[in-house]
Symmetry: none
Subunit: 219 residues, 2 copies
């Protein structure tokens, strides 16, 4: 499988644009934990994921984190090229959550194509709207949902991503995803354990009763 | 002043597109409190404000609200036409905060122009990025919310020192006092201004509502 198969609107580019893109494309393999982009770094470019998993998060001045969205195979990351649009006035950090194979499309090139191509501009619009929807969902979670529901939802989502009920996650990691504190998460997980919904051990959380977690999430 | 003067990329439309737009434009005057759009209503269309003020907010199931952003003269509202893009998967309510004169561009027409016009698609991208930035700023406030309190406290302290509600302060100065960035302070002060707590002018900040600043500081 090549870049052409992964880039969704390849067939809507002109031959010249296709050649430009192939000519300036960068192929990278990054290991888990690599920071691919952060607000203070240069404009990385658009990232298209061949395989693996990335996480986009924001950081507080005190170093607290909250996950904004995840990116999987075939997803494209726009905000690693935020210099491309002057109206993007926020900073995200992009980190590899798993070993990841990806392509980088230089921001300047993408921008120059987008300025002339209605299909590329409209595709970019849909990408941004998708991320916007995820962020609006997150605001609703933060504002209206209590933390027990958010932890339940997070564990079920992780279980779906990993296709396993045994999750290799520290309490610190869960806190960073949810913008909370480790102590708060530990207390919540112990409560879940007392209720028979999970089993805790060092560095992992085993889901024992997914149905009850789902009921809690939707309550 | 006519629609042509308010629509920022008027000169980048073809003559045919200009005629289509003028031919299907709706002019409306709404009084304060009017709900112009909510998630369950039909796709209203894009709103361009001639004069007045709108508020976009989300609602919880229990009826709690949070303001996502404000729209003022010459601002354009995209999410009142959310049917236009399939990736917009969230619902906002748009309400007139003041008596407002506005134009509505029907969503279907705008969409058909945007699909063919790179300038219109790119303009729409910038619009969405602007709103996205406002929402990301809001998340940071919600999650880490310390700076708003620090700015409020700083203004009240300065006011006590100077024994005046008119503070001769640049945003840069405030940023330097608080170990922050000028851009961040500017955004915060504009938020305070929108809320009616201060009035900004070149090189100065006038405190209009010290009680509300104090309440914010102590919240």
């Amino acid at each position: 499988m090549s870049f052409q198969d992964y880039f969704p609107i390849w067939n809507q580019l002109t031959a010249a644009q296709q050649n430009q893109m192939l000519g300036s494309l960068i192929t990278r393999t990054v290991s888990k934990g690599t920071v691919l982009h952060n607000g203070s770094m240069d404009c990385t470019g658009l990232i298209l994921i061949q395989s693996g998993q990335l996480r986009a998060y924001i950081l507080s001045e005190e170093g607290r984190e909250i996950t904004i969205y995840r990116l999987f195979e075939r997803d494209m990351c726009l905000f690693s090229a935020s210099c491309m649009m002057r109206s993007i006035q926020f900073e995200v950090t992009i980190e590899a959550e798993k070993d990841t194979d990806l392509w980088v499309i230089p921001a300047e090139l993408y921008k120059s194509i987008m300025e002339k191509s209605a299909p590329v501009a409209n595709y970019t619009n849909e990408l941004m709207a998708t991320r916007f929807s995820e962020v609006m969902w997150l605001i609703e979670q933060i504002m209206w949902k209590s933390l027990d529901k958010r932890v339940a939802a997070f564990l079920l989502e992780e279980s779906a991503i990993e296709q396993s009920s045994e999750l290799k996650l520290t309490h610190e990691t869960i806190a960073n995803h949810l913008g909370s504190h480790r102590e708060v998460i530990t207390r919540m997980l112990r409560y879940f354990q007392n209720e028979g919904m999970v089993k805790l051990s060092r560095g992992s959380v085993r889901i024992l009763d997914a149905d009850r977690l789902a009921a809690l999430q939707d309550a």
